[in-house]
Symmetry: C2
């Protein structure tokens, strides 16, 4: 059944439907990262996507798949932030009322952005099971259509659009690195790439403190890991979805883990050396590039997907200062 639902043909249809709605983001060659790692490094800049993250792909894919139902009673969803902005934006475009259930600890800039696009925000305690229950209750009580932030057919097919762009922009890519929370992006992109004629490898990237997809793949079933806070505030889903797990099992080569420090360093360097504002969650792919591919031979063409740019600027500047202070304080090696 998975095969039919997520065949290349289905993905292609979604891509056609989303053609004027999703922006083709630039693929930027990075001199600094190529020099540092000895690879040919390309950055897929989803921080320049509408609402500044890849989630617009998920939101359009998900909402278009349920449009009739959604127009009648509105939609409800849960999100740690970027999906909230994206679904609010898409709802505004398509004339659909949007309600988003968010964890209380969600980044304030992301909450504000969702409100700016007209979404109603409902907060819940910092637990994903509670969030899911709240979404289901609102759907039951008010007849709202649920558009899942990662584990939905339309959502995943929407994310697949990024895979097609990579096939067009750099068909010779040998490695693709994708930040993973619930696994929606890596599921969609890997399903497109691996069902095409492409012959490279694709890796998910997660924070060491939240290895939910990594552990699930090792155990062979969707597995819940403990809730954990990470500097990558978008990579916090502590269990993959049913669909995203099944697709990852089939199409993803492995999941690479990165430390909090590596994520911060990648974020700061992207800002300093690449002139890119990328949120820590979006920079996790670069952290994995540096940790796992630096110095590897022969050199390969590696794409790091920068999945979003919605970092709160004050937090980012503090991060830069703190990072520099630590660099300066570190003992000089002789």
């Amino acid at each position: 059944m998975l095969g039919q639902m997520f065949s290349l043909k289905e993905f292609e249809q979604t891509r056609t439907a989303l053609r004027d709605k999703v922006r083709v983001t630039p693929l930027l060659f990075s001199d600094a990262l190529s020099t540092r790692t000895g690879q040919q490094v390309y950055l897929k800049a989803e921080n320049f996507q509408r609402t500044h993250s890849f989630k617009i792909r998920a939101a359009y894919g998900g909402l278009l798949a349920k449009l009739a139902e959604a127009r009648q009673h509105g939609v409800v969803t849960g999100s740690s932030g970027n999906f909230a902005q994206a679904i609010a934006y898409v709802g505004q475009e398509l004339g659909v009322r949007v309600t988003v259930v968010m964890l209380e600890r969600s980044a304030p800039n992301k909450v504000e952005a969702a409100r700016r696009y007209g979404a109603e925000i409902v907060f819940c305690e910092n637990d994903f099971a509670v969030r899911t229950a709240t979404v289901e209750r609102l759907s039951r009580e008010q007849g709202k259509a649920i558009v899942p932030s990662f584990d939905g057919e339309g959502t995943i097919r929407g994310n697949g659009t990024l895979g097609f762009e990579l096939l067009e922009q750099l068909p010779a890519a040998e490695v693709v690195l994708v930040p993973v929370s619930g696994g929606g992006l890596v599921a969609g992109v890997s399903a497109v790439l691996k069902q095409s004629s492409w012959r490279g490898r694709i890796y998910g990237v997660q924070p060491e403190v939240n290895p939910s997809l990594k552990v699930s793949l090792e155990r062979g079933e969707p597995t819940t890991v403990p809730n954990a806070a990470t500097v990558a505030d978008g990579l916090v889903a502590n269990r993959p979805g049913k669909l995203t797990f099944a697709l990852a099992q089939q199409y993803v080569d492995d999941v690479l883990l990165v430390s909090e420090e590596e994520i911060v360093e990648a974020t700061v360097r992207l800002l300093e050396e690449e002139k890119l504002v990328v949120e820590p969650s979006g920079a996790a792919s670069v952290a994995a590039l540096v940790r796992y591919f630096a110095g590897k031979q022969p050199a390969q063409k590696v794409v790091a997907v920068l999945s979003g740019g919605n970092a709160e600027l004050g937090r980012l500047t503090d991060m830069v200062k703190e990072h520099r202070r630590q660099q300066t304080a570190a003992p000089v090696r002789s």
Copy 2:
């Protein structure tokens, strides 16, 4: 004579010569600036050019035009920073020794970057006449070829490559805004655009405190204005070149002036809303967009050239904090 030296055919030849050397930078549609100004706003992101500014175009154009001479005794040039990095980089690529004369007040990150690419730096006092004299002395004494940072044939033709990219990326552009220091970029881009079939308007943008090209065009001759410090540390040439003046007189529609505050605001907003690290000099075009085009009807397709991204990060984060403090301190309007 100007006509022959800078005919469209000459520019086309330079473009062909530079095709694999200069990066085609992305043209990014800006949702936030389009909403704010009521125009359709596109950002030409030269902060993603090699060495992170448009000056690589100037440096390749200038150095290729004098390559035989330069390979023998090296080259010497004067620069406030971005050209220094660019010529150092190009020198390294082409196997040419590079000496750069810099004002003592030059931004430390730009000095360091030039050194990293192997250039020798010679400092001089903070006066452009002294810098020019120093460059000429080093050329006389050591036989070095002079590659001017803005007022050279090859330099200007190299900058013209950006004009061709705009013609390909957005032929329907109606307005193009270009930051101006000595006028090299606006000269090259305007000469290409206005000699093609393009029928829009092109404006230079300068800080109010350094209106050298504006005053020169008003007087009808290259005119020296007083040296002035500005937050846009790359827009400090206080007199246009002979060639750049002549081309601007022929092809540039006008020069628009922007305040220091407007430049800072544009820089901070690009960082916050567009996820782009742009140096204040490169953000001047956006400052002009907001000041002169907001609310104008009918809406037009406006391209703001972001000429570079080499802002020192510490300085940028201080700028963000100071800007926010002032925003907060401003009296609330009732």
